[in-house]
Subunit: 260 residues, 2 copies
DNA sequence: GAGTGGTCTAGACCACCTA
DNA sequence: AGGTGGTCTAGACCACTCC
């Protein structure tokens, strides 16, 4: 599409024209994933434009997620990797005893090594959306917040923030970095009488905020998926909330659910 | 964050500095949603830079989804609208008889008028990922494809493409624009013996391709959510597949599901 | 050191919107 | 008509990578 047709006047803007040509080469495989484009100076000379114009063309493609410029090295056709998929079965009891969380399993499937990192553990005043869903006050330090980063090999892929009502968290040892239970944090909740019965996940996508882009090291043109997860127990009570901010070029979601 | 601290040398790049200042004003509410920024020429003069530099600052904010430039009018702080949420219950039998599809219901909730438009109906050779999931050949015209656009007021918000194995679709009248069943397309499938039992939805997010951006009229810095939906019947057979490409600034997803 | 992308300047003209 | 963003020119210097 938008390729120049023989015999017609070509009134496309120069930057657009260069972008279309490069996009076409990428889509036909002429420029393979991982390969290097001509330099900005070469492209400019080839098309008889200023360097800035060739640069604008490359930016169009970068915004579409097709290429990634690397400072001092060149502009490369983006390789799209198979995604690490977070499934709705990740909380299933069937993973009890495997010792592997679904995230680590998915990493292993893609030949990557997953790991977690604890950023902070703090008792705080919750943001309004969290307070509302957990049914706690947003005026007092009513929740415990644990912030984590999930890594796949050397890439940070998810920023994970968990909020637990302080009335539930106090005295459980969840202020420590290491979760004091063999079945993880949800084992702790079960001991306190909250068995996960349903989950409610609100999903949206957006461009990362400046701070998130820095933490997740997202290249330009890569959005994040924002998942607000609420755990409900057997009585329909919301007892835990987690926000996942995920690099959309490395992770996705999968729901396999009954139609009720 | 990244604000200039008094007394320290400020070695930030000029464009970055302007962007930080504007971002701060937006985040504190000093620049309210919907309000107009100073013009590029004013910003440039105020900071003693070239116009291109002020322009670069605005582009940073546009990529973060904070502002939207409007040609001839100015640059405006983006209003974030409440999202039209596609829920996993949208296929539930409980909506039988309301006459309203969940999409239209959600639009009504946001005070908008929803409508559908049929773009094309064609018997085609399916893409590989579709063929694989439906268990049909990708070498013959083995599926019927129906392309729709969903509108909310005057905005196109979702591009919806449905693939049905031709062995199921033939003779059903699904080649016509109007679905020949009071309960819609899934009523047709039920008459042919396929009752929706489970759904499987693979979710990812990405920047729109050039063609999608044109159709959905996405402003810069707005990604799309890409949902690959598979319907499974009582025997676990995949009999229908739909791809949703959704503007992420106007739509989201919601899953409320049991933990199995 | 040579080549790459990143940022910036100081202009210019065009396309679009509002009055 | 005047103001706005959109695109472009023809340079410049800087930061980074690779040899």
């Amino acid at each position: 599409m938008n390729q120049h047709k023989e015999g017609e006047p070509d009134d496309r803007k120069p930057s657009r024209k260069i972008a279309d040509e490069l996009r076409h080469a990428i889509e036909t495989g002429e420029l393979a994933p991982g390969s290097k484009l001509q330099s900005e100076r070469e492209l400019a000379e080839k098309h008889g434009t200023a360097r800035n114009t060739a640069r604008a063309a490359i930016q169009l493609l970068a915004e579409e997620g097709l290429v990634t410029p690397e400072h001092g090295r060149g502009v490369f056709v983006r390789k799209q990797q198979p995604l690490i998929r977070l499934g709705n079965d990740r909380y299933s009891h069937k993973y009890r005893g495997t010792g592997l969380s679904p995230f680590l399993l998915e990493c292993a499937k893609q030949g990557k090594t997953g790991r977690f990192e604890v950023l902070s553990i703090e008792r705080i005043q919750p943001p309004a959306d969290v307070a509302e869903r957990l049914g706690v006050s947003d005026k007092t330090k009513s929740v415990l917040r644990r912030e984590n980063v999930f890594w796949a090999d050397d890439d940070p892929v998810q920023r994970v923030t968990t909020y637990i009502p302080w009335t539930l968290a106090r005295g459980t040892g969840l202020l420590q970095e290491d979760i004091p239970h063999q079945y993880g944090i949800h084992g702790v909740f079960e001991d306190k009488g909250h068995v996960m019965h349903r989950i409610r996940e609100e999903i949206s996508a957006r461009m990362p905020r400046a701070e998130e882009a820095r933490h997740l090291r997202t290249p330009p043109g890569v959005p994040v998926i924002d998942v607000l997860h609420t755990s409900l127990d057997q009585t329909g009570n919301a007892y835990e909330l987690t926000r996942f901010v995920m690099r959309a070029d490395m992770t996705g979601l999968l729901y396999d659910v009954p139609v009720e």
